[in-house]
Amino acid sequence: MPMGHTATQQAGSGGLTATEHRLANGLRVVLSEDHLTPVAAVCLWYDVGSRHEVKGRTGLAHLFEHLMFQGSAQVKGNGHFELVQGAGGSLNGTTSFERTNYFETMPAHQLELALWLEADRMGSLLTALDEESMENQRDVVKNERRQRYDNVPYGTAFEKLTAMAYPDGHPYHHTPIGSMADLDAASLEDARAFFRTYYAPGNAVLSVVGDIDPERTLAWIEKYFGSIPAHDGKQPPRDGTLPDVMGEELREVVREEVPSRALMAAYRLPHDGTREADAADLALTVLGGGESSRLHNRLVRHDRSAVAAGFGLLRLVGAPSLGWLDVKASGGVEVPDIEAAVDDELARFAAEGPTPEEMERAQAQLEREWLDRLATVSGRADELCRFAVLFGDPQLALTAVERVLDITPEEVRAVAEARLHPDNRAALVYEPTAPEAAEADVTAEDAEETETAQ
């Protein structure tokens, strides 16, 4: 049954095109023109994330990302931030399980500066990296961990769920922020070795999107990046293969000073890049995305047992994706009552599948989310890098929404039946330890990546 309820003629790609190039040193380049606004986005994805970290050095990829802003051969100290901001640009970097990205959005006439800066640190970071930067950024990152996770109620829920869904020793067992002990243990030599291993032109994709002249942009890229020597010391990440389902319900009860009871759960879902992953995205949207979702209607509207109830999806390529359920209980409600209602809704959905109306709503929501990501040059640059790094083909970014719209209700039902059941669930139950309040909310989107500047 075709479900082509597209909001735009181009089904989300907005008439975008992208060209691909490769320098002799292996750097892949993606360019996309758009002259509507005089801005240009530079995005650089390195194919390294927390999954490449080894035991005892969790958090190193993210700590290293911070060090990338501490200067390189021709850029002193905080110069990267100072020069970009002084040029009227904005910038940041983020680290997730599967990649590290760096991005600058510039007024179009300042594009060359951003390319020069990225090339300088790709080619010469270690000439500037010293013990002082390392110690300082170690403290900054530890404070980032405290601020975003440790000093926030439920702040470590995502870390706990990840640790349950991916067993000890698995590359996705730990989250990008890492542990305090490992952050303390990381040495300057670890950082140097990390750079030598992963920060190679052949392990990166550079995209430039916006008000650009592609020929001139490519010439600048060749000029600044072309002489960076190729090197190939990268080890493949540890194998992330896991059974499709957990095979039993895993369960942990957390007794902490939190404001209310909560039920959180992680489900193993299909790998990103498959039709099944898009089907799972639609299933989670029907069940727990927005105010017309089944779980919202059941728990928040009808049963009035929850303050908020929703599902999030963390798409992963090198391991099963993660569906994250988050339900904060209303006062006086017991978790088993919520759990029974959730199981009831999931089982019914697995049996019946989505209604045509639900399918239409979910596809419309995902389409708008996609249009939002494409509404900015930086969003487009990031998506082009994502598909180039993770799937080897940036063009897939331009057709992603069409793939979501091509999914059938039966595929959505089937993935729910296969994956959204208690034997594929890691459940985390929060029981408040004190009657008085402690602190508040966290979402899947917050916890899955960490960045340099808040």
């Binding site: 100290g77 931030f81 009227g88 500066l113 404070n143 109620p153 927005g290």
Partner: protein
């Protein structure tokens, strides 16, 4: 990797090319026959259209003892109409691929709709029904009240929100609405019912005091017809002019610790009130505040983050509370961030040193130049999306500013010198007129903070 550095060819830092002129978009202003004001702005390529609605329903208009009724009303607007039940309304909205958010703040209620342009007309119809004929069913309002009561403990538990509530309670007189939480307290929310919500709606929501800002790519959309059929079909009575009470605050230097035994960090919020956008000093204040704490290369983070590692980041900002042409408005001027518990005393000591040094030595020309280049230069980036443009236009309406305020602000920033920016920053953050809220472990931080001599220290329970 010195071997790689040695073999890479270095080039001098490139110089910028000629800048392409860019101006903040000028909206087209008009009025529907029912008195509703419309600002529209065509932004080619922006396929997700943003609609911002301003309702002239300020928090101070809430009846005594019913703090939070405006919030519940704002939420209840999307809980059913004369045509659809609450569930049907939510479903129809999401069928458009739309999102709808409503919140109540001091100047009024704001409703934000975002929807793909191809479904704008349908979504505008739903939005208009919500404004024109909200059902406010007893059961749904009661559910929203219970839900709101359940949210309160989560907010109190959040260190940043707890700090903001404590600062408002300290700064403003108890009889000012600004001293109390925007979304009400447990006690006041308990009293709210459907009748109270409807009474607030009847008293304060009408087309003649409403503005709709519509921004996006209108290619193929007959916006005039769409507006006439939707928001234009809303009728209502005229309104009496509203008089806003002046905002006053007690900014005598003092410290309040909201005790959180065992907290691994201390949340800092240091603030007072100052000039709003109607004041001539605004551009200089924006510039000076940016130099003090706008980004991680500003003065505060240069020391607290990049030198000392006490924090992930501390920011200084000015946030308009209410802004009126008669000069009775104000902005909250504040410094906010969190530091690890053991560094609380040293971090505050450094923070005060930064403020004293600023007052003694002023900003440098280089700092001012970089700040202007950033604040002016980022405008085309910042306003790429329809939502960003709509938000700023709606802020201007809410603050009784001309539609070209933002466009001219960039010229005024560029014309502001180092001396003016310094003066504005120093008078915005005088070291002896700042109220400091610390949400953290009192047993560990009280003594080090007392030793700093930045004001009397009081401890309250979390």
């Amino acid at each position: 990797m010195s071997d790689a550095a040695a073999t890479m060819t270095f080039h001098p830092q490139p110089q910028p090319g000629p800048a392409t002129p860019w101006a903040f978009p000028a909206p087209e202003r008009g009025q529907l026959p029912n008195g509703l004001t419309v600002l529209r702005c065509h932004r080619p390529g922006q396929q997700v259209v943003a609609v911002e609605i301003n309702l002239d329903a300020p928090l101070e208009a809430e009846p005594a003892g019913l703090d939070g009724v405006s919030t519940i009303m704002a939420r209840a607007l999307s809980e059913g109409t004369d045509k659809l039940t609450a569930e049907e309304f939510a479903a129809e909205l999401e069928r458009c691929g739309a999102t709808l958010d409503a919140h109540a703040d001091h100047p009024g209620v704001r409703i934000s709709l975002e929807v793909p342009a191809s479904r704008l007309v349908k979504a505008l119809g739903l939005l208009a029904d919500a404004l024109r004929a909200p059902a406010f069913p007893d059961g749904e309002v009661e559910r929203l009240v219970r839900n709101r009561l359940d949210e309160i403990p989560h907010e109190l538990a959040n260190p940043a929100r707890r700090a903001a509530m404590a600062l408002s309670a300290q700064l403003f007189p108890a009889d000012s609405r600004m001293s109390r939480p925007r979304q009400g307290t447990e006690e006041s929310v308990e009293r709210i019912d459907a009748a109270a919500v409807r009474a607030f709606y009847e008293a304060h929501v009408r087309p003649v005091t409403t503005t709709a800002v519509v921004v996006g790519d209108f290619t193929g959309v007959d916006l005039d017809a769409a507006l006439a059929d939707t928001l234009g079909a809303w009728t209502g009575s005229p309104a009496a002019p509203r008089q806003a009470p002046p905002i006053t605050a007690d900014d005598k230097g003092r410290v309040v610790i909201v005790d959180r035994p065992g907290a691994v960090q201390t949340q800092l919020l240091i603030g007072r009130i100052g000039a709003d956008r109607h004041d001539r000093v605004w551009p200089a204040q924006v510039l000076g505040t940016y130099c003090l704490g706008g980004t991680l290369t500003s003065r505060l983070d240069r020391v607290l983050r990049e030198e000392k590692g006490y924090t992930y980041g501390v920011r200084a900002f000015g946030q308009v509370l209410r802004s009126t042409p008669d000069g009775t408005g104000a902005a909250m001027l504040a410094i906010s961030g969190s530091v690890d518990t053991a560094s609380t005393g040293p971090a505050l000591d450094d923070l005060w040193t930064v403020l004293r040094t600023l007052a003694a030595e002023g900003l440098t020309d280089a700092e001012r130049d970089v700040a202007v280049q950033n604040l002016v230069g980022v405008a085309p980036l910042k306003y790429e999306t329809a939502a960003a443009v709509a938000g700023t236009l709606a802020d201007q309406v809410e603050q009784h500013l001309p539609d070209d305020f933002q466009a001219h602000l960039y010229e005024r920033l560029a014309a502001t010198g180092t001396v003016e920016a310094t003066a504005a920053a120093v008078s915005a953050f005088p070291v002896d007129r700042l109220v400091t809220i610390l949400v953290g472990d009192a047993a560990q931080i009280e003594e080090p903070v007392k030793a700093l001599g930045i004001g009397e220290v009081t401890v309250v329970t979390g």
